[in-house]
């Protein structure tokens, strides 16, 4: 299952960017990845409907990232800021893709973010979205982290893959190898299976076919989804790559990933 030989290369890569991501850190790496595959990059700016709904409530409150001051939310102002942000993202994708020599397109959609990501993931080979963990709230109040993130598009000590018995896990491994090779960092694998035997087989396959050290493999037997997320975050990942099968059941899984992690997440179909 895990053997990546003869696995077709991804042809379509989608980068999903929402309003709160002040810096689409992963964008450059992903575009280069796409250029290497001769894949097409589609930038999708998500105007989160849930956020807009909440902003229109009469008691809506917004906590300013820069000042840590709670104030009344202004939906008109937020809509204007979204338009501006979408234009910036489009320019960024255009510039980055043209520099890397990748084909690209761009669109804006208005949907609940998690659902939008899930739908995009179902349609494209690889979907990348930025996590929005608690640390991202800090903005300028955590300047060293922000500065570090800005300098390092994918800062972290390893590429973390979540793999199970599904077919998409092969492409997860394939993408992980490319990213890890580019950044000279190891791959950590979180294996998921229903039994211990299956976990052992998965580990064996990873060690032999993918050359992943045993110490870098963490097996989870019948885990809850939050266990999987916690195991992924523990390895200080530069990126987390998972097969679509793990999140296909509900957009809540996407939401949970987004909340718990602080790095780019790649969903591979």
């Amino acid at each position: 299952m895990i053997n990546e030989t003869h696995t077709p290369l991804p042809r379509r890569i989608t980068v999903a960017i929402a309003a709160g991501e002040s810096q689409p850190h992963s964008l450059e790496s992903i575009v280069r990845l796409a250029a290497g595959y001769e894949a097409k990059v589609t930038g999708v700016f998500i105007e989160d409907v849930d956020m807009l709904r909440a902003a229109r409530l009469p008691f809506a409150r917004e906590l300013c990232r820069a000042t840590n001051v709670v104030r009344s939310a202004d939906s008109t102002e937020i809509e204007r800021a979204l338009k501006k942000r979408a234009a910036q993202v489009r320019d960024l994708i255009a510039r980055t893709a043209e520099q890397a020599g990748a084909k690209w397109s761009f669109e804006v959609i208005r949907q609940p973010k998690a659902r939008a990501v899930l739908e995009l993931a179902m349609q494209t080979d690889v979907t990348v979205f930025a996590a929005a963990s608690a640390h991202h709230y800090h903005g300028r109040t955590v300047p060293d982290i922000a500065a570090s993130s800005a300098r390092h598009p994918m800062s972290g000590e390893s590429i973390v893959i979540l793999v199970d018995q599904c077919a998409a896990s092969r492409r997860v491994l394939q993408v992980a190898h490319i990213l890890a090779a580019k950044r000279h960092i190891p791959i950590h694998a979180v294996t998921i299976a229903a039994t211990r035997d299956e976990l052992d087989r998965l580990a064996e396959q990873l060690q032999t076919s993918a050359d992943i050290a045993a110490s870098h493999i963490n097996g989870l037997c019948r885990p809850q989804f939050n266990d999987i997320v916690r195991a992924a975050g523990a390895a200080r990942p530069a990126a987390v790559i998972l097969p679509i099968d793990l999140v296909a059941g509900s957009s809540d899984y996407v939401h949970e990933l987004e909340e718990a992690l602080e790095n780019p997440i790649l969903i591979v179909k």
Partner: protein
């Protein structure tokens, strides 16, 4: 003029009176040749060359005294004309003195980590400066490598990771608890472009305004309360974030300090031991260690391969921050320095702080401090050209300030004079112990003495180089040794005996005195080089007298355009100069024109006219503002002479005017005052003066003729004109008797005198000159003050008496008219 008097003059000429006139100089008086008695060698190759200076005993003694005086303020001002060997002797003397003195310290500037605007200076033994700089460079590289290894090591990384993980955990826990509570309250925290918003959730989706309106009031209040509570919790959680970050940073800094102290301390310890005898350096090394620990990030970025440019910039910062700037370095046992600063601008003397452009801004640091000549000469000697120091802006003040304060403080001129308010470095001052030798001309020395009150305190020793020395057998031999040295140094052909004689004779002529020799050896050197040229030109293997003569003649020819033009204008009659006949109130004076180093004489016609008046002699040059004060003084003196000699009992009743004819430029000096007096007396007495003579010499109120300058050139100037018109045997020049010792005339004049074609007559009193020029006895007064009838003085007094009488008659007539 009465006809009888004219006849007397003519008769005198025809009878050859002049030929036996007392004071006529013999050929031996006109030139003092160098002979075998003076110098008995056949070639310069037989003479031992002499290095150093000749004929400057006073100056030599002064320089030696200044060098030996180890007291502040005994700097030396070497004064005298150029070309006298001031520079070469001074360097020679200072080098000799310096050779026996210890090598001074090396000086370095280093960063002052407490106050980078004020770099520190370190003194260390000679030769150690560069060594210390290299050691420091090596240390920084070692520190860099050691720290890279330490900070890249697993131990450090895991300890740092633990600190960061702890922070992350706290942060995640804090924020996570807010998230969990938010989830329990069905509130989702969502990001907006500028912050976060709190969305109430129902069935996995945010509640919008329409849906909210449909809810019961209780539900609405509950939802609103939940949103407000979550926003408060997040707000509080965020408030503590900076404090947690600070704690994390402090812990990381502490960890860094531990790693740095361990890694750096051992490296610096060796240096501290090596320099234990130099407390300032030990102190610096300790502060360096503290700073390295404090600024560890300068050595920890290399692992970041994605930012090589930043890494290079950081390395540059580290190199500058910890670099040692060796301002002065000496080789051990190389003796005290002797520095000659040819261009003593302020910054070349005192030093400067340079700047580098970075991102459009000028920045500086201790590595950009540059030393000046004072730094290099510190502990030794500094030789400067006084005129250049004085003409370079601020250089003189800067030099004095350094000498007065006995320290060198590098200061920007702009800052010192408040012309710039930018932040500048203030490097620590360096103690100064230097002997300064200024070289300049006499005028400059006396001006400084007169105008700068600090000058005498700082330059207590004057080494006065004379432009002449006595011409003795000994000094002529020394002079020949100098010539031998020049021949040797300049690889010239050897000088034959005759050539050496000619050079010595020419030196005496340059000195303007046949009993002296010029000490302006630069002229001698030039003459020898040109003689060498002519010898080679003529295919000779040594320089002979004819080559020296050729060099002199060709030099005079090259510079002689104006002189020839003057002679031409005279012979063509454009400038009126008579060289024969006689005329009342008219005489040939002599002037010298100086054209750079070349000078020549030329005759000028001087005329005097008299009329009845109130005893006033009018100097036309003065009235027309062409005469200088010395010339006016001469006129006033001759007025005094006439009044005292001829008008003791009666008021002078004449009005006289005296003029230099065809003179269109300024005239100064009193060397024509005797000629003016002759012209005036001739006009008074109406006795003609011989025009075959030219006259030079000043006169005092007793009628004594006094010495003047440029006697040789003046004689030659008149001779040129006469020669051009044809020598008659009647022509000659009257010079003061005191000038006879100055004569070193050219060969062609001596030949003319020897052949009886030209004469040079020395006079010591006006009466002698008058007798010669008029052919009349001047006349000596008897006990009653009366002159012998028929004598020239008798005629003068008679004429003055007649004027006085006429004036009195006029006065009487005027009074009579008044009364009537």
């Amino acid at each position: 003029m009465p006809g009888s008097q004219r006849q007397v003059l003519e008769d005198a000429k025809h009878q050859g009176v002049f030929m036996n006139i007392p004071g006529t100089l013999a050929v031996k008086d006109l030139f003092h040749a160098c002979t075998e008695q003076d110098l008995a060698v056949s070639s310069s190759s037989e003479i031992e060359a002499i290095e150093g200076v000749v004929g400057q005993e006073r100056a030599v003694q002064a320089i030696k005294f200044a060098v030996a005086m180890d007291v502040d303020g005994h700097n030396v001002f070497v004064l005298g004309p150029p070309g006298t060997g001031r520079h070469s002797f001074l360097r020679h003397a200072l080098s000799q003195a310096a050779a026996d003195e210890p090598t001074p310290s090396d000086w370095c500037y280093v960063n002052n980590f407490e106050d980078p605007q004020c770099p520190l200076v370190l003194e260390m033994p000679a030769g150690k400066g560069k060594c210390f700089a290299a050691q420091m460079e090596e240390l920084i590289e070692e520190v860099h490598a050691t720290l890279l290894a330490a900070f890249d090591g697993e131990d450090y990384r895991s300890r740092r990771h633990a600190i960061e993980a702890q922070f992350q955990e706290q942060q995640s826990e804090t924020i996570g608890s807010v998230h969990r509570d938010a989830k329990n309250r069905s509130v989702r925290i969502m990001q907006t472009p500028s912050g976060v918003i709190f969305a109430p959730i129902r069935d996995g989706e945010a509640i919008g305004p329409d849906e909210f309106e449909k809810l019961s009031e209780d539900e609405q209040q509950k939802i609103q309360g939940n949103v407000e509570e979550v926003s408060k919790q997040l707000h509080l959680a965020m408030e503590n974030a900076p404090k947690r970050i600070r704690t994390m940073r402090e812990q990381i800094a502490e960890l860094d300090n531990q790693v740095m102290s361990f890694s750096v301390g051992s490296l610096i310890k060796d240096l501290i031991t090596a320099y234990a005898q130099l407390p300032r350096i030990v102190e610096f090394l300790k502060s360096l260690e503290r700073d390295l620990i404090k600024n560890s990030e300068l050595h920890r970025q290399e692992s970041d391969k994605q930012d090589q440019n930043r890494q290079v910039a950081l390395e540059d910062v580290a190199r500058r921050r910890y670099g040692v700037n060796v301002i002065v370095s000496h080789e051990p046992d190389s003796a005290a320095p002797v520095i000659v600063e040819e261009r003593p601008a302020y910054t070349h003397l005192i030093g400067r702080v340079e700047h580098r452009a970075h991102m459009g801004t000028l920045t500086t640091d201790h590595t950009l401090i540059r030393g000046g000549a004072l730094h290099r000469a510190n502990g030794g000697y500094l030789v400067l050209d006084a005129r250049r120091v004085l003409t370079e802006p601020f250089a003189w003040e800067g030099l004095k300030q350094a000498l007065k304060s006995a320290c060198i403080k590098i200061e920007s001129i702009a800052e010192a004079y408040a012309m710039s308010s930018t932040v500048a470095l203030e490097p620590e001052a360096i103690p100064l112990k230097v002997k300064v030798a200024l070289i300049g001309d006499r005028r400059l020395y006396y001006l400084l003495q007169a105008l700068d009150p600090e000058f005498d305190d700082l330059f207590k020793v004057a080494a006065d180089f004379d432009d002449r020395m006595e011409r003795t057998i000994e000094s002529q031999r020394d002079f020949a040794r100098v010539m031998a040295a020049i021949v040797e140094r300049s690889a010239l052909l050897p000088l034959a005996r005759g050539a050496m004689y000619r050079v010595i004779e020419e030196s005496a002529r340059d000195a303007g005195d046949h009993r002296k020799l010029s000490t302006e050896f630069r002229r001698t050197e030039n003459l020898l080089r040109e003689g060498h040229y002519w010898a080679q030109h003529n295919g000779r293997e040594e320089i002979i007298a004819e080559d020296i003569d050729a060099a002199i003649e060709s030099r005079e020819y090259r510079h002689g355009r104006i002189r020839e033009r003057v002679v031409e204008e005279i012979t063509r009659g454009n400038i009126l100069i008579a060289t024969d006949g006689a005329k009342v109130g008219q005489i040939n004076g002599l002037a010298v024109h100086q054209m750079g180093e070349f000078s020549f004489g030329r005759p000028s016609r001087i005329t005097a006219r008299v009329s009845l008046g109130a005893g006033k002699v009018i100097d036309i040059e003065r009235e027309s503002e062409l005469g200088g004060s010395l010339h006016s003084k001469g006129i006033l003196i001759l007025s005094g002479f006439i009044a005292a000699t001829y008008g003791v009992n009666k008021p002078l009743s004449l009005a006289a005017t005296i003029a230099f004819e065809q003179s269109y430029g300024g005239i100064d000096g009193d060397s024509a005052s005797s000629a003016e007096l002759y012209a005036l007396l001739s006009a008074i007495a109406d006795v003609p003066l011989s025009q075959s003579f030219a006259v030079t010499g000043s006169v005092n109120q007793y009628g004594e003729v006094q010495a003047i300058g440029g006697a040789n050139e003046k004689i030659e100037g008149f001779f040129d004109v006469c020669e051009h018109r044809g020598l008659t045997g009647e022509q000659g020049v009257l010079i003061p008797a005191a000038n006879v010792k100055h004569l070193m005339l050219r060969r062609r004049i001596i030949d003319a005198v020897a052949a009886g074609q030209f004469r040079i007559i020395a006079v010591s009193h006006i009466d002698q000159g008058l007798a010669l020029l008029t052919g009349l006895e001047s006349g000596t007064p008897d006990a009653d003050g009366n002159y012998p009838p028929g004598s020239l003085n008798f005629l003068i007094r008679d004429a003055l008496d007649a004027m006085a009488e006429r004036r009195r008659n006029f006065s009487d007539q005027g009074q009579g008219d008044g009364k009537s």
